[in-house]
Each structure stands twice: as C-alpha cells, then as structure tokens.
Symmetry: C2
Subunit: 321 residues, 2 copies
C-alpha cells in the first residue's frame, strides 16, 4: 500500500465518483466552542464513501474477471458502492447482506442492479458464504476493507481532504473517521501521511464495538464481544482488518468511542447546522469531534454516509425538536 | 446590471461564501425518467443562497455606512445572510421578520448577532416599517431582491453553475429556480446569458403565489391575492421586483407552478437520494424539475435553502416512510 496506488485509484474514478465538500457552520462552531469541519461523504454517489472503494476495486479488474462478475458483503453501503461500480463496468454483481440491514439499503442495492442474498448476522458466517458463492460462480470477491484496491479507493478521501484543509488554512487537526474494519481510516491515514503531515487520523466507533480503539491501545487486533446491538449498523465489524490494522497502528492517534445517543445527537446537529442527512454509523466521527474532551480548537470529521431509513431520522428530529 | 457586477461580487465573497456542489443521483434519475442535477445551495453558509447577496451588498458599502449598520427584512433566509455578512464586517444589523417565520430562522438570525424586530405579515407593511427604522438609525436598507448588489451576489450561483454544467457535459437544459421576488432567478439568468447560453432560467413558485409566472405570461408585473397560506414561507412575496422582472421578462422561459404537496415530496426524495435537507420553499424548483411535464432529458434545479423546523421535516419523512 502506498500513495501511488491511491493516486491511481483517484485517476480511475475521475468523473464517476464525486469530490465531496468540506463543510462548516459558524453557529455550530460557537455551540461546541471549537471549529468543526465536516467532509461530507454522505453527498457521495450512492450516499457513502464506499463508492470510492467499489469503483477502485472493480475498475482494477481484468476484462475477463469483470465479465465473470463480482461479489461483495456488506450491511448496505459497500453493497451500493460495489453494485454501482459493477453496473457501470457491465459486471454481474452479487451482494451478501445481513437480513437486519436497513430496508433502504437493501432496496437501493437491488435498484443498482445487484442480486441480493440475505444472511443472519448473528448466526451465519458471511466470509464462508461469500467464499462459497465466489467459488461456485467464478465471481471476484470485493472485500469491504481488507483489500488493497479498496483501501486505495477510500484513501482518495484523504487526497481531497489534504487539499481542502490547506485551502481553509488548517495545518494541524485531528481527523475523526467513522471506523468499521478500518479501510477508510487506513486509506486516509496513508494519504495524509504523504500530503498533510499536521493532520492525524483518529478512528471513531460506537460503544461496545470499539475493537479498533482497544486494538490500537494494546497494539494487537482485538475482537468485539457481540456482532449486533448498536444503531450504527454501517460500522459493526468483528475486528480490525489484517491489512488495515498495521497501517493505523503506525499512523493513527488513539481511537475515540461515542455512545449511540451521541451519534443521534450529531445527526440532529448536522441536520440543523449543515443541512446534510447522516445515518447513525456515519455520524460517529462527528459525534467524537463535537463531544470529545480535550480537543484542539480545530477538528475535522469525516461524515461517512447518509443512507438512513426515514422512520429513524424522524425519531432523531422529534427528540431534537 | 451586468456580468462585471456579478464577477466583482464573486471576487469580494471569495473565502467567505461557499462554492456549492452540483449533485445528482442515478436512482433518482431512473425514478423520474430524466437526468436531474441539483445545485445544493442548502449547503451554503447560513443554509441558503442568501449569504451571497448579503455578503455582496454589505461588502459593497462604504466604511462609514458599514459603521452605522444595515437593516434587512426577511422571512428568515435573507435575514441570516445579511446578519452573517454584517457580523463579519463589524456592522450593526437590524432584521425585520414576520412573526410567523419558522422558529429556527428567528433563533439563528439572533445567533448571528442581529437585533430581530417582528411584524405581522398579514396586517403590517414591512417596507414602511423598514424605511422608518432605517431613517431613524441611519441604517442602510439591504432589500431582499430589488437591489443591484444583491442580484449580483445571487448571480454568482449562475457563474458556478455554468462551469459545473460544462464539466458535466450539459450544454442544453432548463434551470428551475425557486422564485420569490426574483433576485436569484434574475442574477442567475444574467450569468447564464453570458456564460452558458444553452441553459435557460425557469422560475418555480408555489400554487397561489405564482405572481412571477403570471407576470411573465402577460408581460407586466402581477400581484398575489394573498400574502400567506403556503408552507413555502421563504418565497411568498407580493409581486415581482421592479429590477428583477425586466431581466426575467427578457431572459427566462415560462414560469413553473407546483403544489405544496409536490414541494414536500421533493423534500422527501432529496432526503433519500441526495442526502440533503431542504425547506419547502427551497424544494419548489426541484419539484418542478421532478414532476413537470414535457421536459427534456436533462434538467437542473437550484435547491435554494435548508432552514426547516425539525417537526415539519419529521412530517415529511413520516409520509414517505
């Protein structure tokens, strides 16, 4: 993994994946007592940063592999990213999704043209199912984070962020990133190491699913005790990735952990002050940036996704009204 | 009014007012059967395009005038735009707002440091009250639309749009713009006339407040029968502006008219597919682009603002869930 791979991914996705804005709001800054900049990946095509990794991986395949097709497993955002990229490349696409994934994510993945196969998150092993389907049909497995081309694709967020931070005059800041397996966090960390040395990645996770924070603290990969039980469905992974963890162990600061209630409050503040729609798992980094203690006067958060069922968002609004 | 004034306004606001993205979504395009591009001014500082006109007008004042201060009247978006610009220029700021303006807009205007004076939209004449306050305190009145510097500021949306459309390969398209007094529509029309001749402004208004559409149809300024009664609070003006109407009469296509229900449906689709927060008056142009008949295969809508009370947005989500 190196900067060249990230730059090559950026070149392959030009015109197909969006450069997202770095937002901020004076009234939000005043409310929390620091400047909070938000990289709005919820505005990305397919509603999350996953379109980057999906495009990077599918576009790197040989013509023969594309023709056979791809398979991905995902609670919904990686699903849509891979499905979008596969459709654009004319590649057949199978997506393995947990049966408790938000309805909007399942529906959208099908709308992008993918074949969706559902599994039980608590009792079935998605890796085993994915490997079997992959072997049966000659599909190439596009893993959600432990894949060099996926990490390179997500790293393009870091290239944009380095440039946008420089334009905003930001030279020193923690960059909170919503973290599941660590694909986005590690990609951004690699890009920032090369392009903006004053910006340091800090992973953000929900309480009870803080495997990355604990792994970083002890210097070895730790597992979560449960596989479900947080509203932050997008980032509930069993443990840090094999490829991603060494990168973050070398480059990231300590991991932040926030409550589901803080994630929901961050969604409400993003609604009011930034006018963007975030899903719970996509608001965890913003929650860390807003509610963390002992932070410097300028912080950055990557708001990773906005694919949320209307009923859940309505609940957030009713609490904040 | 000419392109030079718009370009000068763009130069004065650089670094203070945001370039907003032009968004689109494959699944939304498929749903409506045409390509719909959305200029997301809800992501603008202060949550609407009004920060542009406010900044343009305040930054064009003499140092002496700035020191005495400014006054604006507005249902809330112009209020916040002028308040934001005034605070940044160290200018005292009085804002005259209708007493039925959304709570979030009144609160935010105060949070930007402005003194808010409330009036009754149905029985009081805001122009008269504004003129009196202006005379009493030596304040400069920044009108919401019938002011050359305000029109020039709003016209910067058109400069960005011309460039973004060219980058997206769009050479011919109607550009629907939410229309109150016509400041934004006329500014954009002037910019597009110079920079993107294949793009033509079409105003969009709510049913019952279609003064601009009727005025364009008959070639003379018409008034609305009522001053309140639509959920689209941001764009309920009595009649087209004196300065704005001749520009639109020369450059705009026929005006579009949408129902409140269509505006609310556009808000729900923007939530699901674009992950942006729109207020009802800010969604009228998108509604025209989504639900209009006989439109070409590519259309553009300017989504003008996203300052909406959470309770109203929750209602929109519950209907769409």
């Amino acid at each position: 993994m190196n900067l060249d791979m990230i730059e090559a991914a950026a070149a392959r996705m030009a015109g197909h994946v969006r450069h997202t804005p770095l937002l901020n709001a004076p009234l939000l800054d005043r409310l929390v007592g620091r400047r909070v900049f938000v990289k709005a990946e919820c505005l990305q095509i397919t509603g999350s940063f996953k379109a980057r990794g999906g495009w990077s991986a599918v576009s790197a395949l040989s013509p023969e592999a594309r023709k056979r097709g791809v398979i991905g497993y995902s609670s919904g955002n990686h699903a849509q990213g891979v499905a979008y990229a596969a459709a654009a490349h004319g590649a057949p696409c199978v997506i393995l999704m947990p049966s408790d994934a938000p309805g909007v994510k399942i529906a959208n993945t099908r709308a992008y043209g993918a074949e969706v196969v559902l599994y039980d998150r608590a009792t079935e092993d998605r890796d085993a199912i994915g490997a079997r389907l992959s072997a049966d049909r000659g599909l190439t497995l596009v893993k959600p984070y432990d894949d060099p081309q996926v990490i390179a694709g997500q790293g393009t967020v870091g290239l944009e962020l380095a440039q946008q931070a420089a334009e905003a005059g930001i030279t020193q800041a923690p960059v909170f990133v919503c973290c599941g397996g660590g694909g986005l966090s590690s990609g951004i960390a690699l890009a920032l190491q090369a392009r903006a040395t004053g910006l340091q990645v800090r992973t953000a996770e929900p309480v009870g699913f803080d495997d990355m924070a604990r792994s970083l603290a002890v210097g070895a990969r730790q597992r979560n005790p449960a596989l479900s039980g947080s509203i932050c469905d997008a980032i509930l992974t069993p443990s840090p990735g094999e490829l991603t963890f060494p990168i973050l162990g070398r480059l990231a600061g300590p991991g932040a952990v926030v409550s589901d209630a803080q994630a929901l409050q961050a969604m409400a503040l993003a609604f009011t002050h930034l006018r963007i729609v975030l899903e719970p798992g996509g608001a965890v980094a913003l929650a860390a940036a807003l509610f963390g203690e002992g932070l410097p006067d300028t912080v950055i958060a990557v708001a990773t996704g906005g694919n949320v069922d209307p009923a859940i968002f309505a609940t957030v609004l009713e609490r904040s009204a």
